[in-house]
Amino acid sequence: MVVIGLGSAAWLVVRLWPYRYHGLLLEPATPVADFALTGPEGRPVRLSDFRGKVTVLYFGYTYCPDVCPTTLAELARALQRVGRRADQVQVIMITVDPERDTPEILARYLAHFDARFLGLSGTAAEIAAAATPLGIYFAKHEGTAATGYLVDHTATVAVIDRDGYLRLVFPFGTPGEDIASDLIHLLK
């Protein structure tokens, strides 16, 4: 009787204890201004198209030598761990290099990580309008003859909830397991 009681109390404590996010939880959550960019096959895609899903936004580019593939691999792992509810999550990479990243190139690149990832491009002004309010800085700088130019950019990952509110920011290097854990909690 006592064991059952204590077990129930422990279960209650675990259930009621506030969840500790691995990412930075933004409180009070603020709505993200809608924006329109270009998706696969040149079709227009708006952020608001994903209302009802948890949207994971990352800004990067396909020529990115290290930071972007590392982050995308972690996001792919996170999506795998989310499991069957992953259909309620949309991972989007917005290019910060629209000169080289056409929608086709983006789609091919992202398919290496996870076929469900969506790549968006646009004009530099359209991308800046989406990136600036989220604190994403990007600027071209010269690379080597082999790499061509490179693009410096903020490497954080932003998570927008089902209602279009910015809820979490993951710094670069957050493990996929931690991202998955937070996504699962947001999906509850």
Partner: protein
């Protein structure tokens, strides 16, 4: 006889154990209630990411939001010509510069940035003269200017400080100071007409932020996250 004595002892033991069923959840609930109401740890809200920008400072150097990561930053916004409306904000920034100077070495450095949103980018010489007139220490307080369209996006869409030039060239805007933490998250937003825009409030809140940066590690992190969860916000 012996068995009866043992049975009695067992009985005596089970009473406090039963009480534990009620005491433990009650203590837990009371602790949570006490934490939420007494607020032994206070924090500042994590409002939203500070916007991205690329500007030029009074020394002609490029400055971006990424350059300021790892430092606590106070931002303010104004046009070059703005006498009476901007004087209170300038005075607060001067006071905060002294506060920044007095911070100890183990605290996160505090930097000040004044963004000038004129219709044309200002030259480093103009910014230099502007900075000198306000006693700005070039190591702590940067006067910056940049592409007007980019600044509009940063200041308007990002910091949510809206401004517009009237037909006489005078700008209409609400003076504001915004506090950004070392991770680039907006933690305080002080408005001239709608919220307390005074040195004492800003200093107090920066001290709260510095305390969080210093202590938000290891086991303490749980306590700070609980403070965020229960909205234990410093005022």
């Amino acid at each position: 006889m012996k068995a009866a004595a043992l049975g009695a002892a067992d009985h005596q033991l089970t009473v406090p154990r039963r009480w534990l069923l009620f005491i433990l959840p009650a203590v837990l609930a009371l602790s949570v209630f006490a934490f939420a109401t007494l607020q032994p740890i206070q924090v500042l809200p994590r409002i939203r990411p500070a916007p991205a920008f690329r500007v030029t400072d009074q020394a002609g150097r490029r400055l971006t939001n990424e350059d300021l990561r790892g430092q606590v930053v106070l931002y303010t916004f104004r046009p070059l010509r703005c006498a009476a409306a901007c004087e209170p904000t300038d005075a607060i920034m001067r006071a905060m510069q002294e506060y920044a100077r007095a911070l100890s070495a183990d605290e996160t450095p505090l930097r000040l940035v004044t963004m000038l949103f004129d219709s044309e980018p200002l030259s480093p010489e103009t910014l230099q003269a502007f900075a000198q007139a306000r006693g700005a220490d070039p190591a702590r307080w940067w006067m910056v200017s940049g592409d007007p369209a980019g600044l509009k996006q940063t200041i308007g869409a990002g910091f949510e400080v809206y401004y517009a030039a009237g037909p006489d060239g005078e700008y209409a805007f609400e003076p504001a100071i915004v506090l950004v933490d070392a991770l680039g998250i907006i933690r305080g937003d002080y408005r001239g007409r709608t919220q307390n825009l005074d040195v004492a409030t800003i200093r107090r809140q920066i001290a709260v932020l510095q305390s969080e940066i210093r202590n938000d590690q290891g086991v303490n992190r749980l306590a700070y996250e609980a403070a965020h969860f229960f909205l234990c916000y410093a005022h």
